[in-house]
């Protein structure tokens, strides 16, 4: 069954767990550096290796970042919370338990607003955000496929073991209907933007800083109880998230159509085919024997600290969009175009440098975007917001008109210098010399008596027909406003 058909027949419910690796200088529970790269098993202490006798101590910055994330998601920050041990054996888990938080997360009950491609807003209910530590990394050696099955042995590097993760867990997301896949990927993208805005993580999907586990279940109708879900682990790009959800919805629907049941299990996503495959069924073995971590004392974030952190929160991307749309007076459509083109920051900085919002938008989405497209270069590499603002300033001062400004902009993008320098160097400034302009105007009036008659008759738009010859005579450097004034003065005067 295809996704499109599946979605007509069944109501999908999704749930997403996002893990983000925090960009603290050290790991969560020990002073080993949290850096990407370096030789294997060098960013480790006795604690990150789980040596006998080693003990954890909580990284204050990790807690701070977790609280910031919680606040940004609109969560309540716990008055008191504890770490817990999640017990399970695995070679890349040095202590054979993961220090996490179980029923006492640092942040609970928030929401994230996501904006879909066409501007539809969707609210994702967040159940919790909690701190935990990452595991080491296995490299599988031997075996034909390179995947775990069939591998002869593994090599383990514990450099990543103990790095702080914040896991954000949603409540079941209902009501997405056919947009389930889009909602899922947009949600993770929105979180990624929030992490970056908070400066708590580099949040690079391709480096595994942000990882998502996607739960999908289907039910007959929105009134029906939740169906059996599958959890597709470690889906690590926005596109993959969308594909994984689509695949799971189609796969589950196909099974249900054939009268088969859905097995509650973890599944693996395969980038190459866009398919998921069965991992391991949930079983009684998933008994993690959580209990409060006795080696760590409770966290009691003071309300003062929480409020201090709240005050430092930068404006989040969605808030910023809403605020700027209001201040600038742009329509939703205009804002969405700006955001989708990735020009929000550039325009904001241009406005901050003194330009009017409408002019900033016009230049960035128009000529700059066109040049970028033409040169196949990002807009940010062509010109700076300060240069665009300067260009707009020259127009407002009457030194450039739009046509001349385009020439200046092209030259600036080619690296010829700042707008004012280019204007002077290329002698592009609007002609101030009234004599030359008057001569051009006189010539145009003399050559176009019929037009003059029309203007006299009150057809003001006919002035445009005189502007062409005037501009031609002045090599485009005439100030259109002044020319118009002169024409009217001469005809009526």
């Amino acid at each position: 069954m295809k996704y499109e058909d599946a979605i007509k027949k069944y109501d999908p419910v999704i749930g997403i767990e996002v893990h983000v690796e925090l960009g603290t200088a050290t790991k969560m529970f020990d002073a080993a550096p949290n850096t990407f790269g370096g030789g294997p098993n060098t960013n480790i202490t006795p604690t990150s290796l789980g040596l006998p006798g080693s003990l954890p101590v909580v990284n204050e910055k990790g807690v701070e970042y977790a609280i910031k994330i919680g606040l940004a998601l609109g969560c309540e920050i716990a008055e008191t919370c504890r770490f817990a041990r999640k017990n399970y054996f695995y070679p890349d888990v040095p202590k054979d338990f993961q220090t996490s938080q179980s029923d006492e997360p640092i942040a609970a009950e928030g929401s994230v607003e996501v904006e879909l491609e066409d501007g539809t807003m969707f609210t994702i209910p967040v159940e919790r955000a909690h701190m935990e530590e990452d595991a080491g990394k296995n490299t599988h050696i031997g075996g034909a496929t390179g995947r775990i099955h069939g591998a002869d042995h593994s090599l383990v590097d514990y450099n990543r073991a103990g790095v702080t993760l914040v896991e954000i867990v949603t409540h079941p997301i209902t009501g997405t209907g056919e947009r389930a896949a889009e909602v899922a990927s947009t949600y993770v993208r929105t979180l990624r933007d929030i992490f970056r805005a908070l400066d708590v993580s580099e949040a690079r999907m391709e480096q595994g800083n942000v990882r998502a586990d996607v739960n999908v279940s289907l039910r007959e109708s929105p009134d029906a109880p939740l169906g059996t879900r599958t959890e597709t682990k470690n889906v690590n790009s926005f596109r993959s998230i969308e594909r994984a959800v689509r695949y799971e919805i189609a796969r589950q629907a196909t099974r249900l159509e054939a009268g088969e049941t859905i097995v509650q299990e973890t599944r693996h996503f395969h980038e190459g085919t866009g398919e998921t495959s069965s991992g391991r069924p949930k079983s009684d073995a998933d008994d993690y024997r959580y209990f409060p971590e006795p080696d760590l004392v409770p966290l009691v974030p003071s309300r003062e600290w929480v409020e201090e952190l709240r005050a430092t929160l930068p404006e989040l991307p969605a808030q910023k969009r809403r605020r700027l749309a209001g201040v600038w007076g742009f329509s939703d459509l205009e804002m969405r175009d700006i955001v989708n083109a990735g020009l929000l920051e550039a325009i904001e900085e241009t406005v901050n440098a003194g330009a009017k919002p409408a002019a900033a938008r016009k230049w960035w989405t128009g000529e700059v975007a066109r040049l970028a497209n033409q040169k196949d270069q990002p807009t940010a590499e062509l010109v700076t917001p300060a240069q665009v603002a300067a260009l707009i300033g020259l127009i407002n001062d009457g030194k450039l008109n739009d046509k001349l400004a385009k020439d200046v902009l092209t030259a600036v993008a080619d690296g010829e210098g700042e707008p004012a320098e280019v204007m002077s160097a290329r002698n592009l400034e609007i002609v101030e010399d009234t004599g030359a302009l008057e001569a051009a105007v006189d010539e145009a009036i003399a050559a176009n008596p019929d037009v003059v008659e029309k203007i006299k008759g009150g057809k003001m738009q006919a002035i445009g027909a005189l502007m062409g010859p005037i501009m031609k005579a002045t090599r485009g450097q005439a100030d259109a406003g002044k020319a118009k004034d002169l024409i009217l003065a001469k005809i009526n005067g």
Partner: protein, 132 residues
Amino acid sequence: MLGQPHIGPFRTGPAKRLDLLTSKQTDERQGMTESSAITPEQVEHLASLSRIAMGEDELKSLAGDLSTILSNVARVNEVAGDDVPATSHPIALSNVLRPDVVGETLTSEQALASAPASADDKFLVPQILGEE
């Protein structure tokens, strides 16, 4: 994330019951005092959870030991009511935090000196089945 599936976003906390372990279907707050006999099969499950290979004799003898111990300690369930808070840490400290400053680390040589097997500065472990 860490190689094992978690209970997903629909979780309400750790699962509250593992029937495999109950030799007798009883309410949690009663029932364990009189007869909390543990069977060798239950011990086998616990041994598998704790990754200890055990033979039949060991399972049997441990089942006996556990039954004795549990029948003695099961009364803890009857002593304290819901109004008594749990104490996880004997001395009440809170907010013990460490500044985010890099400290001394081990070299890979130090880390691997006691390793049963290693290669390429990494710990060499037997093949891992079933999970990513």
